[in-house]
């Protein structure tokens, strides 16, 4: 069966520091991968999606970037965090229908 791992679960970072959130999927190959941000416990904002290695699309301009160095690894990064980057970040994988989510990372920028 497929599983998705996302870490860390919580993170407190100072403004201006770098960020790296990692997500890995097991039990499948060539999945579509997604990074979402959820602000204030509500709506989901799609940040990035990837249909293959080095094939990443950005949905919104922001202070973040994503990379997919391996087929089942998806990384969300920032060189310098802003206060507005605080939120709940969710990684997900899927094919042509539903998506399956990791447990999320609560990022607080202070």
């Amino acid at each position: 069966s497929q599983t998705i791992h996302q870490w860390p679960a919580t993170l407190v970072q100072p403004v201006g520091s770098p960020l790296s959130l990692e997500c890995t999927v097991e039990g499948t190959s060539n999945p579509n991968l997604y990074w979402y941000r959820q602000a204030a416990g509500r709506g989901l904002q799609l940040l990035f999606y990837s249909i293959g290695i080095d094939q990443i699309s950005s949905e919104v301009p922001q202070n973040l970037s994503a990379s997919r160095p391996q087929d089942r690894q998806f990384i969300l990064s920032s060189k310098k965090l802003l206060l507005s980057d605080s939120g709940f970040y969710l990684c997900a994988w899927g094919w042509d229908t539903e998506a399956f989510f990791g447990q999320g990372t609560r990022l607080t920028v202070v």
Partner: protein, 114 residues
């Protein structure tokens, strides 16, 4: 444009009563529709989906949803609510214009009172 609407920000139901969480959609062509549940500080969990076939779809934890093409709706239902059903519920539709994206509703907070 493809879109999903969850008209209720919050739904309150007494334990043991039936519950309905509403979802309407606007898509080009045939929709793929989904319901997810999110507990506090957790990722979203897939509940059920409609791709084709029977309009009544059964999913996890006793939930079901009814696809109504004429009303462009996909309401989530459960015959008898449990306090543990209290959570945030999201409806989503797959965007056929982009094979890779799900279009999400804003979420509905479901509160089940004992």
């Amino acid at each position: 444009a493809q879109s999903v609407a969850q008209p209720e920000d919050q739904v309150n139901v007494a334990e043991g009563n039936p519950l309905t969480v509403k979802c309407t959609y606007s898509v080009s062509g045939n929709p793929y529709l989904f319901w997810y549940v999110q507990y506090p500080n957790r990722g979203l969990q897939f509940l059920l989906k409609y791709i084709t076939g029977d309009n009544l779809v059964k999913g996890s934890y006793g939930f079901e949803a009814e696809f109504n093409k004429s009303q462009t709706s996909f309401h989530l239902k459960k015959p008898s609510a449990l306090v543990s059903d209290s959570a945030l519920y999201f409806c989503a539709v797959r965007d056929i214009l982009s094979n890779y994206q799900l279009i999400w509703g804003a979420g509905t907070k479901l509160i089940i009172k004992p």
